[in-house]
Each structure stands twice: as C-alpha cells, then as structure tokens.
C-alpha cells in the first residue's frame, strides 16, 4: 500500500526525475542519503557532481520553487539560489536534483544530451487514500447486500446441473456489483474514424448498467481516448487511398502463414521499411500486436532463462513470459536501484535450488507505459544490461512514432544507439493508425524468429491494406513522401503533450508520468469518481478513458488522456476548461505542489 507520506510543509511529495546518462541508480540513492546525512546541501553543490544523481526534493518554506517550464524550456527554478536538499526516496530510486536558471545547470551544459526529462508520481494524500479504501469497501458491502436481497438480472447457465461452477465467485461478484456500476464508461461503440473527433453511438441503461439500449442517436465528441498519437487514423488522404489500392491489388487477406504462402511483396516492403525506420538490420512483422509478444517471447526464452520484468508491463508480455516457461522476477516500476539489486542477486545466486548459472537473463521493459504515462529510463537500463550481461527486450507499443524528435521511439528520444537494445518490439496500432506488431534487431535475431516464431509458423500474415497503411504512414514520418508533414505531426504531438501536461499541473490535479509522454493519466483515486468524471466529460462531448481496479492498483483509479497530433490548441483548451470545472466540482485538485502562476504558452510551431 502506497499511502503517501503525511503532509509536511518541508516535504512536498514530488519526485523530479532527470535522466543523466551513465548514472546508475544505486549511486543515485547513495548520494541522496549522504546528502540527507549532511543536513542541508545546496542544490548547486549537488549538481556540480555530474555523475551523481540525487532524488531531490527541493523545497523549503522559505524558498520559492517553480516547477513549470515556460516557453518550452524545462526548468526547475530555484529562486534564491539555494534549496534544502531534502531527500525523499520512494519507489523510484533515481533521480537528479535539477538546477537551472540561477544555479549551475549541469544537464543543460551538455548540449548533445537530451533535455533532461521530468517524471512525476506525486503520492496520494493520506486522507484520500483512506476515503478511497472506505469508498471501495462500502461499494463491496452494498454489493453483497444487494446480491443477498435481490436476484441479479443476469443470464444463468442452463443444463449444467452438478457441474463445477464455471466462475470464481468473487470475480463474478466484482463484475456484477462493483464494475457494473460504472460499466457505461467502457466499451462505448463509435461509428466514425477515431480521429481528433469521434462519433459515439448513444446508449442508455434503464436498469443501472445491467443492460444497455441504443437510442439511435449519435454524438460527436473530442477524442482523447484513442491511441491515435500521430493522427494517422484518417478516412481520407494518402494512407487511406494507398490502402484501398492495396485491397484492389492484393485483396483483404492471404489465408496463409508466412511459412507457407502468406508472404506478398507488401510484407517484404513493410519489413524493409520498418528496419530502415528504426535504424536496425532487420525486422519481422506480425498480424497482431498482442500476439507479437505472446507468440515470440516463448521462442526467445526457455526454462533456465531468467526474465526481469517491470511490474507495470502489459498483459501480452506477461502472457508471453508465462508461456515461455522461463523464471520471471519483477522489479519495481522504473526503479533502477531495484532492477540492479534483482539483477545482481540473480547473477550471483544463479538458479534456485541448483545454483547453476542462468542460461540467459532478459530485462523486459516498455518504452512508454500505457497506464502510467511514464518513460523507461533507457540509458540506465542499458548501462545495467551491459554491466550484468543481460539482454534487453523493449516493448515500444506506445512510444514508437510518438516519442523522439524524429518519431522513432524512445531510442530516438534518448539518442540511444538502436544496437544497444537487443530486441525491439512495437506495434502499429497506435501511431501508425493500423494494426499488427514488429520485432526488430540484428539479422541473426530476425532470421531466428522467421524460422522459430510461433506466429510465423501458425498464424496468418498481416492483411495487405493494414500493411500498406503502415508503409505509407511510416514514409510520411520519415519524410520520404517529399513533404515535412510527418515531422510536423511529430512536433505537433510534442507541443500538445507539453502544453496539456503543464496546464494540468497548473490546475492542481495529480497527473502521472513523464513530461513528454503523450499518455496522460489523471489521478482521481476513488472508484466512483472514475465514473463521475468520464460521464461528465462525455456530457461535455469529450471522450476519455477511465481505468480502475483491477487494471490499476485498487487505490489509483485514473482517467487517461491520449494526446494526438490531430488535436489543435483550441480543442485542448476546450478540454482543459471543462476539466477545470470538473476538478473544482468533483474535487480532483489533490496536488500539494506549488503551482506555476504565470501563463503557460503553447509552443511556437517553428520551434
């Protein structure tokens, strides 16, 4: 249970993350404790030691702290020059004190490095934590009462008397009496292209969510729910036209696997383009993103291998690991110190019982975590991977296309050499507005997968129009269409992301994740507030996604916004205005951080 620390005036629960390459988390933490032992340390001093990262909590009653960047500059301005180096080490053990502006700005003095990135995971206030739990238990108690008093209007199994019950009773109870209460917030059908705006099919329930009826009406909403990062979900334009042509040329499907007769020139072109896009030797593509993980991890791993997996990894990765028969250990989300500890123990102790050395050790992480909005700490992970001779499997489902100055994913964002990541996986569903997934890396890896992948042998190949959409959109991003349309989209997404996140911070709501991540989870904590917010947003013609237990920890119900290059500033302002209202009326302003008072500017297009 991650109940946040109590409100203390001198300890604001904010964790600033700055990534300084070549810094290992272990050192960061140690450095932090030293600072604490020393009492007050000026930020300037901390920062003059470039290879040390400190989790810095820069606050003091007397000192003003500005956490917001203005005009695109990431700055944590410590006015008055000094701040107390209060060290606060929670789950993310790696971080740097930021000093900029008035003090010596170490990260900024290295021009080629990425602008130091910020990630925030503000802790939940204790009162909220308690009320959230109480609210949840109240729901459960009322649910049981309801179940006891009234027969649920649900389908029953027929002709299966004497069979062992099919479902777990609590699971069934949960979906009937807890989930059902806000069931209307999910599975809302759409009837248009999921672009910047989306048309929702209107439905109502007359029985508190047991059943839904369609009213026949439609409702146009601003779309912050779909993974349409670069705005390639389009019914017109080059992508759509090319896809239509490919249907005419290759039909909708081939009805075969790639080992048999499922390969058409379009697949070869797609694989070649993907490899070029990512800057690696080769790539292999599959018809479904989920299956890319679930069907390829098992052939890369075997019993006797160890996988060290981030606790927030996607279900498809977890399924793939389960199918592989390898031993899995979990490290705390994005916590480099914990990762190193697990790695070190694993290598030193070897396999359990026998103590034999592991055959291979894999680190499995994601680029952008879809529920947290956080970004993998790639340079540190790579440093650790090299130190302990592990292999790195990076799932870029949400980051490819959406991150980096050229849209090539987190590697591009951090300026990492693609050869430093052993297995690059990603999907085409999100940024490319299509479907399917890829695995890219060395030719040796890809050849191995071509022969051994479950999907290559048994699953049908990607539909040609789906492949064509990817090829066309990828070319646009790379600028191979002769325009700067792709680059513009990448920039637009980055601008939208920073603007939207900063405005939300300013509003005083708690949002998770990295400053440049287009996935923005807004914490509402309480189960009932998920429903309230999603419904209110829908009423105001905004489509957003609510996520609650079991997809998130019990206490961390959230609303997730996915930004898109298709959004304009006006649309975002509209959402922000509505959110401001909702945050006020529903009490979402949980943040205890100081807020930036000035006007947050939307970055200039030419910047």
């Amino acid at each position: 249970m991650k109940v946040g620390a109590f409100r203390e005036p001198e300890r604001l629960m904010r964790r600033e993350v700055a990534v300084v390459p070549k810094v290992t988390a272990g050192r960061a933490e140690r450095c932090g404790y030293e600072d604490e032992a020393n009492g007050t340390v000026t930020v300037g001093e901390t920062c003059r030691r470039p290879n040390m990262a400190t989790e810095g909590l820069l606050s003091d009653g007397a000192h003003q702290l500005k956490t917001f960047a203005v005009n695109g500059k990431h700055a944590l301005n410590v006015v008055n020059g000094k701040a107390n180096g209060v060290v606060h080490s929670k789950k993310n053990g790696h971080v740097t004190a930021h000093c900029n502006g008035t003090t010596t700005g170490v990260p900024q003095s290295e021009p080629k490095k990425k602008p130091h990135s910020k990630e925030s995971f503000e802790e939940v206030p204790l009162v909220t934590a308690v009320t959230t739990y109480m609210g949840f238990y109240l729901l459960v108690v009322l649910g049981y009462l309801n179940q006891f008093l009234f027969a649920p209007p649900v389908a029953k199994e027929r002709n299966r008397k004497g069979y062992v019950p099919l479902y777990n009773r609590f699971e069934q109870f949960y979906s009937r009496y807890v989930y059902r209460r806000i069931r209307d917030c999910w599975n809302r059908p759409i009837c248009s292209v999921p672009g910047a705006e989306v048309v929702l099919k209107d439905r109502i329930t007359h029985d508190y969510g047991w059943t839904f009826q369609y009213t026949g009406l439609e409702k146009k909403c601003l779309n912050l729910g779909s993974y349409n990062y670069l705005g390639f979900a389009e019914a017109t334009g080059q992508c759509a036209e090319d896809s239509i042509q490919s249907i005419k040329k290759y039909a909708c499907a081939l009805g075969s696997t790639s080992h048999e007769l499922g390969t058409s020139p379009i697949h070869l072109e797609l694989e070649e383009t993907t490899a070029r896009f990512l800057g690696v030797e080769a790539a292999i593509t599959f018809g479904m993103g989920f299956a890319t993980n679930a069907l390829n991890l098992p052939c890369l791993l075997s019993p006797g291998c160890l996988v060290i997996s981030d606790e927030k990894n996607h279900a498809s990765l977890i399924l793939g690991l389960r199918l592989s028969g390898a031993t899995t250990r979990v490290f705390k989300h994005n916590n480099m110190k914990n990762l190193e500890k697990v790695l070190r123990t694993a290598v030193v102790q070897g396999q359990p019982k026998t103590g034999a050395p592991w055959k291979k050790i894999f680190i499995v992480a994601e680029g952008v975590y879809s529920m947290e909005g956080s970004l993998v700490h790639l340079p540190e992970v790579i440093a650790l991977k090299k130190k302990y001779k592990a292999y790195l499997f990076l799932d870029e489902a949400h980051s490819v296309g959406a991150m980096g100055p050229r849209g090539r994913g987190v590697l591009d964002y951090y300026g990492v050499n693609p050869h430093d990541v052993d297995v690059l996986m990603g999907t085409f569903t999100k940024s490319f507005g299509s479907a399917g997934g890829y695995i890219a890396g060395s030719k040796e890896l890809v050849d191995f997968l071509r022969v051994n992948s479950h999907a290559a042998c048994y699953a049908s190949t990607m539909a040609p129009p789906i492949a064509q959409q990817i090829i066309t959109s990828m070319r646009i991003i790379m600028g191979e269409d002769g325009t700067n349309e792709g680059q513009k989209r990448v920039m637009q997404l980055a601008r939208n992301t920073r603007y939207f996140r900063r405005r939300l911070h300013q509003m005083g709501v708690i949002i998770y994740g990295h400053e440049d991540s287009p996935v923005v989870p807004l914490l509402v904590y309480m189960f009932s507030k998920i429903g309230a917010v999603v419904r209110t947003l829908a009423k105001k013609n905004i489509a957003a996604v609510g996520v609650g237990f079991p997809a998130t920890p019990l206490m961390e119900g959230r609303i997730r916004f996915c930004l898109s290059a298709a959004h304009t500033k006006e649309q975002l302002d509209n959402v922000l205005d509505v959110l401001e209202d909702i945050a006020e009326t529903l009490g979402l302003k949980y943040s205890q951080l100081p807020r930036y008072k000035g006007v947050i500017q939307y970055e200039d297009e030419n910047k």
Partner: protein
Amino acid sequence: MGSYWLPTSINGFLGDIKDASLLHFVLEGFLVAWLIWFIFRKSYKSHHRHSLSKEEEDKIISEWTPEPLVKSTPQDHPALKPHVVTGKAGHYIDVDGKPCLNLATHNYLSFVDKPQVEECAIQSIRKYGVGSCGPRGFYGTVDVHLELEEKLAKFMGMEEACVYAYGFSTVASAIPAYAKRNDIIFVDEQVNFAIQKGLDASRSRICYFKHNDVEDLEKLMLEFEAEAGKNPRKAKVTRRFLVIEGIYMNTGKICPLPALLELAHRFKCRTILDENVSFGTLGETGRGVTEFYNINRADVDLIVGSMEWALGSIGGFCVGSSFIVEHQRLSGLGYCFSASLPPLLTSAAMASLEEIEKNPELITVLHKQCQLVHDALANLSEFGYSMSGDIQSPVKHLYLTNPPQDAEKHRSLLHSISQYCIKNGVAIIPASYLDHMEARPRTPSLRITVNVDLTPAEVEAASKVLQQASSEFSLS
C-alpha cells in the same frame, strides 16, 4: 530510567519462576529453546547468503557468460526464403511469379478475391479509416463489430458472439479465460497449435486422448473419475473441460461429436469446440460440425471460429450463451488487451457471412469439390501417397507411404515435391510445424486445401502433377 525498572522486573521475573508449576516451567523452557533454535536457523541461513564479499560477487558476475541471444539459424532454411505471392491468393495464385492452381491457401469459398467483399472493405476504409486505434473497451468498439457479432450469433443460432482481432489468439485466449490452474482439460492429441498455447496459458492439467478415439477418452475420464473419488473435496472445485476441433487442421478429419458430447455430458465436462476449418464449410448451410451431425448447439458450451479461412478476412470469434461469452469481454486476454479488429476486416468478414447466408448452395458446391479432390487424392495411393482427411473436409493431408527414415530428409523431400508442383503450375505446400514445440510429433505432409471454384479438369491436372512428382522423386 532503566535503573528503576530493571531490578524490579528481574525480581518479579525470579518470583514468577519460583511460583511456576513444573508444567509451566517445561513449556516456557521449550518455548525459549524453540526461539533460540529459530533465531539460530535464521541467522545461519542469512549468514550463508551474505557470505560472499563484494569482490567475490563481482568475480561471479565477470565470469558468468550468458548464452547468445539466439541460436544461429541455418541459412538454407526454407522459412528464410519464403515464396512470394504476387497478387491475390484466389483460385489461382502467383507464386514467385509463376501462376499456379491454388491448393495451398485457405480460401475454401473463394471470398478472398470476391468483388463484393473487397468493395465492402473499401467502403469501410472510406468511413472508418484503417486501424481502430484502441482496444474494445477504450473506444475501439466500432459499430461494425457489434453488427458482426450480432450476425454471427444469429447465424449460429446462439445468444452471443464476441470477435477477436486475430484467429490464433481467439482460441488461445478463450481457453484460459475459463480453465485455470487445478482444472483438468481433456484434449485430442491432434489439436492445432493455437489450442496448445491456450492450454499452456491455462496452466490446467492436460490429458491428451488418442485422435478421435472416443474409447480412449472414456478410459481417461474413468481414470480421472476414480482419482477424483479419492479426493472428493478437490474434485468439487476441479472444473473439467473437453477441447476438440470440428475438422482437425492437422489431419483433415471430422470429430465424432455426438459420442464426444455424450461422454462430456456423462462426466460433466464443459466443451470447447474449435471450428476454425469447419465453420462455413461443414453442414448443409455451413454452420459447422454441429449442423453436420444435427446436434443442438446449446449442448456445446463454446464454439470458436476463425474468420481467416472460410470468410477470407482476419480475426476469429466465439459464440455461445451469454453466460459463457460475456465472461470473455473482461477475461479474454486477447480480447481485452489487444486493439480491436480493424473495421475494414470486420466489414469484409461480414460481407462474406452475408454471402454464405444468401447462397447456401455455395456450401453444397464446396462439398462436391471436396468429394472430387478426395477421390483424386485417394487414387494416388499407387504413386506412393496416402491421404488423410474426411470426404467433406476442405483440408486434406497427403503423406508419403515410404518416407525417408531421417526426419530432416523427409521434410526436405516434401519441400522438393512442393517446389516441383509449383514449377508445374500447382501450388501445393508442406504443412509447416515447429516440431520441437508441438505437444505430439506431427507426421510431415503436404496439406491440400479445396476451393469451391475447382473444376474436374483442374483437379485431374493437379493429380497428374503429383503423379509426375512421384516418378520424379521415385516415391512409389
């Protein structure tokens, strides 16, 4: 403050000892001894764990050499040089630029290149774009998904259907949505690979019975029953499942459904029926193996179908009662956590389904072609081929009667025969398996698929080519 309470409490303690009964004394002593042992054991263990110094640990780390990321792949493996299909994989198919009669891809009803189906897909792109950009729960449910689900449920005469984005993931997700650890699943040993992965994911106990052998299944079930009788408490929470295919992709044979269902009913097993081949091909109107045997579909708990073979699109679906299917919307991993099926492929599948409903005679024609191909292949026995597959099945396997002993040679011979056939204008390919991954060894074979548009002359010609191949590679 210590100086005040310490003597007092020691005095009290000594007083307590004096007053204590012998039993009390022994018990306390025992407790203290146990405590000492406990602490000692614990410290011994942790001592052992921390016995390595940092240098020693570093040494272990520097000495450890992991296996390479992947084993090296032989560069002559056929999968590295796949055939390239230029154009549509219809009744005829261009393999590496050579036009061939298509007996290889799964296009039983010729929907892959049907203009109506293509037109629907194109219209769908014009309305919805290409991708759905989200999982079903998060604005990835497009109205065409609902429409298709309704049509599928109606077509199969069942309450509810749910559509998956990928054929492989359909059954592989459906099984673990119900079967969990400690459950038992009875499975035919020839089930396809997707089912096997579903079984793995469920972590249930798996009992394979001999292919289509009802007696063997009964034997296994009786054994289990006897075992369950010994531990009734466990048996009370052990769910039982029977997983079978309508037509087995790996053998082309139809399952003896009535007898299997009778057994399932007797032993209170729920049945999951994978109709990836039989959907749209078996039964008078293409409603699958249940129609073929004229069985009430409600007797089967869950029917899983593919839209990738008969319907000429991508994806899969499950149909059953609402009680069963609804559960997958939250528990089917491939349903919940994957982007939904692109609308254009949904529309294409829907167009194909409508076509089957409109022209059920298509199925009758297909059955005729199956018979035709069946007869032609059966006649190849004197040329060193033996056939597996039932008459009505659109999938047949050709085995070599006298195969080379060496498995590798066996496979490469089949590959050569396939190449020969392609060179001579007939696309026939060996069924591909990952031998080391399959639950049971699969006999290498040439897999022949039947298409509704085949003519007797074409079948004759194909059979000629196989005969020539036989003499070319001296098979008989």
